[in-house]
């Protein structure tokens, strides 16, 4: 069976190489062989088609108060997205974990004498959406409004009023603090957030990225309205802000809107750069005991940030290893071939002062040793051997071919602009990144992996009834019986 199958598959492959396309086709009869050689029939035409491109004209300028602004005009929908990105994430919490999140969440709870009900009612009467969110690097404020002047002007006026004079009312602080404490308790009910936190602690240690953005039962009660107001004055400043605008307004209107918002912010400079996070010096393993039916495992280290010359090679490498969904090595080996997991993936997250590379998987407790051993083994092999040419070709085809979707909506574009401004990326960054990806070679990926990723010096964190011990699977063909 296997010989014949291999032969027929080979025929199919040879036929398809003519189309410069390699997939291991199945076939079980001569009829199927003929069909297989022609399936999909649309291949040639799709390959020959010239992919469409959406040309984005990005305008960039600086406000008088020093905010960096990025703007894209789109006029198909009568709406405007505004996003302010501040270098004001939980990495700035210092010894008051949760301060950045609380400050961010309190912005629309009272301002300039308006109470939370007034603010909510006013935005909702205009059909506008005002929102805030807080992350490790960033604090975000966003407004989505109809672009028609009748709605846009009052919505922006209210947003401006909030940014100019947030009141940080004490009762709202107490209420949101209670919600955050509840949220910490709820995180203890499920394994996922706990293992993420243990991993983050192990990877970052005392670095500011090791701070838990949601705070702790010890830190949250110590946060005062004064601390919140001081955080706002220090980090929500015009000089520390990126303003991204996308929608149906003209450039002169966008300039006026950006000036108005920037002018409302406290005067101040960009926040100082964070210290670089250290690369783990040795292999460590930490475990949280928890009565779950699955063991969750995170494995990782630090790679390089966007401005490093090896970033693109590692970005593509991560995609091949675990970032590329069902085509990734991890998904193929751990789930598809062995059925050990529902989810397994890796990610590379370039931040302002770190670039964590993280593998995450969840598996039945009885499979935890095998899944951990297999994953570590796959990682070691990947670093030693690098990807194959076919793997790189598929990854590059996907990463360049899917680019059209990353700018397909106003909300996607405003997200891209916010990142570009925040991380000081050049205006042609998206195009340049595409070109660099297309040019990457298997050898470059292998060499970059060898330079930056030592599989013997990774941080491992797990949660479950028992700490897993790496064990290699016994059968190599991927077959696996019932448990």
């Amino acid at each position: 069976m296997s010989d014949r199958r291999f032969f027929i598959a080979l025929c199919a492959v040879l036929a398809l190489i003519a189309l410069a396309f390699v997939i291991n086709w199945p076939a079980t009869s001569s009829q199927a062989q003929t069909d297989a050689a022609h399936f999909p029939t649309s291949l040639a035409e799709v390959r020959a088609a010239e992919p469409g491109r959406r040309e984005l004209s990005i305008q960039q300028w600086q406000t008088d108060a020093g905010s960096r602004v990025l703007f894209v005009h789109t006029d198909q929908l009568p709406m405007l997205d505004v996003r302010l990105v501040f270098n004001a994430g939980s990495a700035r919490d210092d010894d008051l974990a949760g301060l950045a999140s609380l400050t961010n969440a309190l912005l629309d709870q009272g301002a300039d004498g308006l109470d939370v009900d007034d603010i909510a009612r006013e935005f909702e009467d205009m059909g506008a959406r005002f929102g805030t969110s807080s992350h490790r690097d960033m604090g975000l404020v966003s407004l989505t409004t109809l672009s028609d002047d009748e709605f846009r002007t009052p919505a922006l006026a209210l947003a401006t009023r909030i940014l100019r004079s947030p009141d940080f009312p004490e009762d709202a602080l107490g209420r949101i603090r209670t919600q955050m404490l509840q949220s910490l308790l709820m995180q203890q009910q499920v394994p996922g957030p706990q293992v993420a936190r243990a991993y983050n602690n192990a990877l970052f240690g005392a670095h500011p990225y090791g701070i838990h953005a949601g705070g702790s039962p010890e830190s949250l009660p110590r946060i005062t309205p004064e601390a919140v107001a001081a955080f706002y004055q220090r980090y929500y400043t015009a000089g520390n802000a990126v303003i991204a605008l996308v929608g149906a307004v003209k450039e002169d209107e966008a300039r006026q809107i950006a000036e108005q918002l920037s002018d409302a912010l406290p005067a101040g400079e960009r926040a100082p750069a964070l210290p670089q996070a250290a690369i783990p010096g040795e292999k460590t393993q930490t475990h949280v005991d928890f009565a779950s039916s699955q063991t969750h495992i995170h494995i990782g280290t630090q790679l390089v940030r966007r401005d490093h010359e090896d970033y693109v090679a590692l970005y593509v490498g991560n995609h091949i290893f675990g970032g590329g969904g069902f085509n990734a090595i991890l998904m193929d080996e751990v789930r598809q071939k062995r059925g050990l997991v529902y989810g397994v993936s890796s990610s590379l997250s370039p931040m302002a002062a770190a670039a964590p590379f993280t593998i995450a998987l969840q598996t039945a407790n009885s499979n935890a040793d095998e899944a951990l051993g297999l994953t570590l083994d796959l990682l070691a092999d990947f670093v030693a051997d690098g990807p194959t040419a076919e793997q790189v070709e598929l990854a590059v085809d996907y990463l360049t071919g899917s680019f059209a979707m990353s700018t397909a909506s106003n909300s996607a574009i405003v997200g891209q602009l916010g990142s570009m401004g925040f991380y000081d990326l050049p205006l042609d960054y998206m195009d340049r990144f595409q070109r660099d990806i297309a040019a990457v070679t298997p050898a470059q990926i292998r060499d970059a992996l060898r330079r930056h990723l030592d599989p013997q010096r990774v941080v491992i964190a797990s949660i479950g009834p028992r700490q897993p011990e790496a064990r290699l699977p016994e059968d190599e063909d991927g077959a696996r019986g019932d448990q």
Binding site: W25, A49, V190, G339
Partner: protein, 477 residues
């Protein structure tokens, strides 16, 4: 920058929010020009991109939305089969079958589908729900022929390999552990839905009972595929930078040859009588107690008078249509009885609808107190019709959300597909604004009075093994 795919993402709590999403979409996105204070200039009918529908000779229904903002296209195939159709012993088989559609077909081996999609820069995934099973791909728009050919292949030529089946069964068990078994709130939700729609297909989890998943046989999935996967039981949605004539030709080319087959009768789920009050007290490994309340009432499809659907939608908006709505104002703020609380009218459903409230009390508040506070909010609406300003605020959000919702091509395709599998004309949106505008404060009180009654409701209390702190202890009982 990089979007990752996570396939088969549909646990009970996610379904909950999914249905909420769709219900809100029903409420908020399906609206057009109206007589409200918002000027009609913003709401020209041109705002809805051109939409076409046609049916192939074999029964396949096709909906095409031409939206040329970006060179991308979304392709979805929706099958009218979901977990509500599953008999005992086969719970979750729709979801299991969905997993198998990524494995073998006549021309594809496991892995081929995903790598073909990736080769052309596409993203794909699938979703199983109570009432449907859906598959999607999205690409740069010139990849449309490939997307359609792949979906036609899956519609007509699935092959289930025994080894692959049993290996995937382990994956589904892992999925169930991850989504439900290790999440006490998801488990509690599963138990609550069991009493919310007793004796109906909605009463078992979409992913299925663990003991039944463990006993699946490949023949069950084959049978399910044979029974439900035919052109006449599916809707194809194509949205994006496409042209209807091009789509028509491609659809004929790839789907036209699939033979028509009889579509089995699909019973309409209906609750015969009012079920009576049901209560569930659950002690679970949670740190924070949770309250679930649900009322059985009509959906758009089962309401004798569809006006009630719109009034119930407004009721949901008045209670929880935003941060200024009553639940946030009176339960989360004000006396601070709830750390979080939500109301959601599940009014777009194949069977009867449900009105669902869930919440977590603040420390020091008992579930009894939170339940009483929710009841008091409902009673206030029953006794005193809400202000017109509250209704207008809900309507303003409905209208703006209609615009904002069109920013997502995927969301537009979801809406078309969902309405289609429910048998509702996608033009529902055209009449929605007018219908909502006609809802009076008294109408809202009337539906609350008629439907949010004791004998229509199910209530679940979820409490920790041990009270998390002494404040909780003293406040309880």
């Amino acid at each position: 920058m990089l979007m990752r795919t996570t396939r088969h993402t549909r646990p009970a709590p996610v379904m909950h929010s999914m249905i909420r999403l769709l219900t809100l979409r029903g409420l908020r996105l399906l609206a057009l020009a109206t007589t409200l204070c918002l000027p009609t200039s913003v709401w020209s009918a041109d705002l809805v991109p051109p939409t076409h529908e046609f049916t192939l000779d074999n029964g396949l229904r096709v909906l095409v939305r031409q939206d040329h903002r970006a060179p991308v296209a979304v392709v979805m195939v929706w099958y009218k089969v979901g977990s509500i159709d599953e008999p005992p012993g086969m719970t979750g088989i729709s979801h299991m079958l969905e997993h198998m559609l990524f494995k073998d077909t006549k021309h594809l081996s496991p892995g081929d589908y995903s790598s073909l999609v990736a080769r052309f820069g596409g993203q794909s995934n699938a979703f199983t729900a109570y009432e449907y099973t859906g598959y999607y791909q999205q690409y740069e728009a010139t990849r449309l022929p490939l997307a359609l050919e792949l979906e036609a292949e899956r519609m007509a030529h699935l092959r289930i390999d025994d080894d692959e089946f049993f290996r995937e069964l382990q994956v589904v068990l892992e999925e169930r552990r991850q989504r439900t078994d290790d999440n006490p709130n998801a488990l509690a939700w599963e138990k609550f839905t069991g009493i919310l729609s007793p004796g109906q297909g909605y009463a078992h989890p979409i992913i299925g009972w663990r003991q039944e998943i463990q006993q699946y046989q490949p023949e069950m999935a084959e049978h399910w595929y044979e029974r439900w996967y035919m052109p006449g039981n599916a809707t194809l949605v194509v949205a994006g930078d496409v042209d209807v004539d091009e789509v028509r030709a491609l659809t004929e080319r790839f789907f036209g040859a699939i033979p028509a087959r009889d579509v089995p009768a699909r019973p309409e789920p209906r609750q015969a009588d009012i079920a009576g009050e049901r209560r569930l007290n659950l002690v679970m490994p949670v740190q924070v107690p949770t309250l679930y309340m649900g009322w059985n009432l009509p959906s758009l499809l089962t309401a004798e008078d569809t006006h009630e659907f719109y009034a119930l939608s407004m009721l949901s908006g008045i209670l929880d249509g935003g941060r200024s709505a009553r639940f946030q104002r009176n339960l989360v703020r004000g006396p601070r009885l709830a750390a979080g609380v939500s109301a959601n009218y599940r009014g777009l459903a194949r069977g009867d609808g449900a009105f669902i409230v869930s919440g977590t009390p603040t420390p020091g508040t008992s579930l009894d107190q939170l339940e009483a506070a929710v009841e008091a909010e409902i009673r206030a609406i029953v006794e005193t019709p809400p202000d017109v300003a509250e209704l207008d605020r809900v309507r303003a959000q409905v209208l703006s959300s209609h615009v904002f919702g069109q920013d997502s091509l995927f969301g537009q395709a979801m809406e078309l597909g969902y309405l289609s599998v429910l048998g509702i004309d996608w033009r529902l949106r055209a009449g929605m604004a007018e219908a909502l505008a006609a809802v009076t404060p008294e109408d809202v009180s009337a539906v609350a009075r008629r439907y949010l009654t004791r004998e229509r409701r199910a209530v679940a209390f979820v409490e920790p093994h041990v009270a998390p702190d002494t404040a909780q202890e003293t406040a309880d009982e």
